[in-house]
């Protein structure tokens, strides 16, 4: 079912892009394409979280990263009634209505066989308890391994060492699952590319200070959430820079806002990695 919806989504967006070539549409085409890649028989599919796992590490391998939360939770956009029925299925299976509806939907889509197969399930503790819990539950369902990247709340030398140690182990596990060799130089390049993209996103955020904003919140937030699926790939910076150009054109003649009540939505684009200074 999801494969059918993402095919329709991609086709529709490609038509829209021909009529109106916008960076945000291009980003959504890439999102649908990446989801569809995960359905290919020969793909090495890593389930992950685009916005809470360091995607640069996956970009250093040739894998299909699949964010099961985002993938399942676009479903109501295609078929709201169907999504409710799917969630009912999760509740019949014992998932409490007290737990996150994103996760109930993802769990039920897995049970119903709507998701692509997973070769490895990666998650992190960066956002919420539910994320790594549902990752483990679904790994149990597929009989595959789940690994949670444990991110402590305090930044210190010890916590950085702890996270780095886990990332080395995860790289080893990806090597094992995919049969590909981990290339440290390729990872370094992915990090450099990703840092450039973050700086481009920073420019975009600055341009949003103008009133009226060049973009309403949705595409900007989508860029930060979906955009991370491309972290470590050149195309992420290209799309952000296209959006910066579009914003500059829209902002021409406008001034920095001093009035109104801007509403801040917490984005999920972290600072460039080289700006982290642990309290050593």
């Amino acid at each position: 079912m999801l494969k059918k919806y993402y095919t329709e989504m991609k086709n529709g967006l490609e038509t829209a892009y021909q009529q109106k070539p916008r960076a945000s549409i291009r980003m959504n085409i890439l999102l649908a394409s990446i989801f569809l890649d995960a359905f290919k028989d020969d793909a090495k599919v890593i389930w992950t979280s685009y916005y809470s796992f360091p995607m640069e590490l996956l970009a250093a391998f040739d894998v299909a990263p699949f964010d099961f939360e985002i993938a399942a939770n676009l479903l109501p956009m295609f078929n709201a009634d169907g999504a409710v029925e799917i969630m009912n299925r999760a509740e019949e299976d014992g998932y409490s209505t007290d737990i996150c509806s994103y996760h109930r939907l993802a769990a039920a889509c897995s049970m119903l066989g709507y998701m692509p197969k997973a070769d490895l399930l990666l998650s992190s503790t960066y956002f919420c308890d539910g994320k790594s819990k549902v990752n483990r539950t679904l790994a149990d369902h597929y009989g595959k391994e789940a690994i949670s990247l444990d991110i402590p709340n305090k930044i210190s030398k010890e916590s950085v060492d702890y996270v780095a140690g886990q990332l080395r182990r995860i790289a080893g596990k990806i090597e094992e699952v995919t049969g590909q060799r981990f290339d440290l130089d390729r990872l370094r390049e992915c990090i450099r590319v990703s840092n450039r993209a973050r700086r481009a996103y920073g420019q975009l955020a600055d341009l949003q200070k103008v009133s009226p904003y060049p973009y309403i919140g949705v595409p900007v937030v989508n860029m930060s959430i979906f955009g991370n699926m491309l972290a470590g790939r050149e195309i992420q910076e290209q799309i952000y820079l296209e959006m910066v150009d579009e914003s500059r054109k829209k902002n021409h003649g406008r001034e920095i806002s001093t009035g109104g009540v801007p509403c801040f939505v917490a984005g999920v684009v972290p600072r460039p990695a080289d700006q982290y200074k642990p309290d050593i």
Partner: protein, 352 residues
């Protein structure tokens, strides 16, 4: 310097009480006393753990003066939020947030040991004296002995009829959690000796034997409901009950912080770090060991750690033919009658 009754509160069994004891304080499991948690709703989301809301309601009422300090641990999102609001709104002499890993491998144990060293340093500052190696080793020995005595007491519960009722045994455990001291082991030892005399070896069938398994439980309601319905509870798998006492810290490890980290991240684990398979294996072992006829699974509402595991546990228990009832609870049992009816029906089903 701490006085004899200076108490440091904690909310999770992953807080190593030995470090608090070595600093000269008495570690105290903090129970939520409030039956209504509406006051906390002004500070915390309504869909947050009811245990946490009960704790914060108490803090708002007594101004947080009941204890000399509090140790939070990064056990779950809810507890982290409780730490945040507590720090912001409740004047406290000492608040510490202990970072606990969510993984349990060697890397996690080593990281946790570094956090425990930092915790010990902070406790030293509060107590004004150094936590010496011998003091920490003595605290480890003392806590091990208390837990060992409780394990021995639990082992008597394999007999039928029970030498100690489930609710009594649960209460003995809670008394230790509510104020671990050096005399706890002696008290339990004396109870165990008395109880062992009443153990009958013919193992004749008496009452229907139900095990309760869940996360936080520091109220006797479910035990009373089961016992009032004519059944008994040989073992309760909570981190405020048998699970807490199964832990032993290695007294011979040269680095006591590594020993504590390994023990507190080790088995028996709760849903925070254990996969459903591991929890099921523990429940299954207890079912066999204590001749359990039915399992009552319970979880606090909005507990992400446990609620995600429930479908997997139900599936496994149903597959092996173990009768199981799952009940969500709101910590204060505001829906007591509804839960009681379900428990009574479950007991009747098992008896028939």
């Amino acid at each position: 310097m701490p006085g004899a009754f200076n108490r440091i509160g904690y909310f999770c069994s992953m807080v190593p009480v030995e470090i608090i004891m070595a600093a000269g304080f008495r570690p105290v499991w903090v129970k939520g006393r409030a039956n209504m948690t509406a006051a906390a709703d002004a500070y915390l989301y309504p869909n947050i753990c009811p245990y946490i809301k009960s704790l914060f309601t108490d803090a708002l009422e007594d101004g947080g003066t009941a204890l000399d300090g509090l140790v939070f641990i990064s056990q779950c999102d809810g507890m982290r939020r409780l730490h945040d609001v507590w720090k912001a709104y409740i004047p406290s002499k000492f608040i510490y947030m202990l970072q606990a890993p969510k993984n349990v491998d060697r890397l996690a144990v080593e990281y946790f040991a570094t956090q425990l060293r930092d915790f010990a340093l902070q406790m030293e500052k509060v107590s004004g004296s150094e936590i010496t190696g011998p003091a920490l080793k003595q605290a480890i020995k003392s806590a091990n002995r208390t837990r060992g005595e409780m394990r021995d007491l639990y082992s008597l519960q394999t007999s039928s009829p029970l030498p100690v009722s489930g609710s009594e045994l649960f209460d003995y455990g809670l008394q230790i959690l509510f104020g671990e001291d050096n005399e706890a082991a002696d008290r339990i030892s004396s109870i165990r000796k008395k109880a062992s005399k009443s153990v009958k070896h013919d193992k004749g069938k008496s009452k229907t034997r139900i095990m309760i398994s869940g996360n936080v439980m520091d109220r006797p309601d479910l035990f009373q409901m089961i016992e009032d319905a004519g059944a008994e509870v040989p073992v309760a798998d909570f981190y405020t009950a048998s699970r807490y006492f199964e832990r032993t810290v290695d007294e011979h490890e040269s680095d006591p912080f590594m020993a504590l980290a390994a023990a507190y991240l080790g088995a028996p684990r709760c849903s925070r770090t254990a996969a459903p398979d591991e929890i099921y294996a523990r429940i299954s072992d207890n079912v066999k060991r204590y001749a359990i006829e039915g399992v009552l699974l319970t979880s606090l509402k909005f507990c992400d750690q446990q609620l995600y595991d429930i479908p997997g546990l139900l599936k496994r228990l149903n597959a092996d033919g173990t009768p199981v009832l799952f009940v969500e609870n709101d910590y204060v049992f505001g829906d007591r009658d509804r839960v009681k009816t379900r428990v009574e029906a479950f007991v009747e089903t098992l008896e028939s």
